[in-house]
Symmetry: C2
Subunit: 256 residues, 2 copies
Amino acid sequence: MAGSSLRRVKIGLAYDGTNYSGSQMQPTGPTIQSVVEGALERLLDEPVRIRTAGRTDAGVHARAQVADFADHGRRELATIVKGGNALLPADIRILSAEEVSPGFDARRHTAGKEYRYFLHLANVCSPFFARHAWHIEKTLDLQSMREAMSHLVGEHDFTSFRAAGCAARDAVRRIDHAALTERHPSLWSIDLRGSGFLRHMVRNIVGTLVDVARGKIPAERVAELLVLRDRQLAGMTAPPQGLFLWEVWYDEPPVL
Amino acid sequence: MAGSSLRRVKIGLAYDGTNYSGSQMQPTGPTIQSVVEGALERLLDEPVRIRTAGRTDAGVHARAQVADFADHGRRELATIVKGGNALLPADIRILSAEEVSPGFDARRHTAGKEYRYFLHLANVCSPFFARHAWHIEKTLDLQSMREAMSHLVGEHDFTSFRAAGCAARDAVRRIDHAALTERHPSLWSIDLRGSGFLRHMVRNIVGTLVDVARGKIPAERVAELLVLRDRQLAGMTAPPQGLFLWEVWYDEPPVL
């Protein structure tokens, strides 16, 4: 493809992942990628391949995913938002569209990401939180959870928290911020900001933190797990519906 | 049925009305009433007929609906909550169950109710608000809306805001509180507390208030509409998905 005739477009995406088999192409069902590409292809009348900043698994949501694609600029950027949304189902929205330098790569150029995982701590699960949080009935020791979270901050090898099938070459990642906050009565969020995340890393961390808060694992065990580098030793994988890709950021615009 | 062998049970209900044809029996599809009665009948092994405090239309939600029914007390109250929820779909929850005096009537004995209607004011509709708010893209004049709301407080004849098929004998109702509040960035609620509400009254009021906020109707026109008592003159009916039955309250327990 000739570079000069192509425009590189960066889009912001929000989606409720409940009805999708994840962000990327899967043989098992519609994905965010397949549905967004289908809508953009109809709108732009040319093949479109998007790259997303962060992979999200089946059932995982995004408040502010970032993606990019190349097109021939037949439509204005505002039309990509308006027209794209007219063609997309209501559970996927294009939030913004801007032209970026041709070498921009939404995935490779991320400087950091924030994920939020919502816990709904209540006797009865609210029907308004069921699709977007992990409902836990039992009382949790949130102080122990906070203590466990403090061990995660910094640069660590997260082998104990990566999925068995994770393809990343090395498992060293940096978590800059980890917080537990009550966002709404009975709705708490675990916020993790960092340089990058391995497959299932947030859900495996959250599952282990909940085991800590249930008294099954001592808080200081989380520090040991980082050193032990063994997925078998850590806690369960938290269910997908509580997880949101919350924010993605980029340093400077990439220079070619 | 002999009164002495029957127990009167008051339950709290929360539901996401998206997938239901309203709170009451309808020939057109499953209702909150039919689904709750079906679950309770399975649990209690006897016919159950519930009475709800407030009727909710198709697609309307309840944060805290109240209902009552009579049974033979075969199950403990805690089991009605636990066992009922195990039999109900996740979009309907029994929040609580308590025994009340045999003459209690969840509908007739209400002292007041609060409804909240959520407006999502944003260029692009968030996939997380789409099921529970009315998305409005155009900028609204919220000050005019507040002025219009002030005319609603007090005892008025709400004929201009009742549905054509509303069966209530008279249309005089008292609104004690009307407020517009930003609950979350881009998510506003119109809260109406009052003695009672006519069919479609909240949605017709909200539709008219949005017409005011769009500059289609002057704010003081709302005071005139109350006097004119003509549904044809007021604004549109707001869509159902923004409406929540928020709270129901009772004076003293009814004495037989």
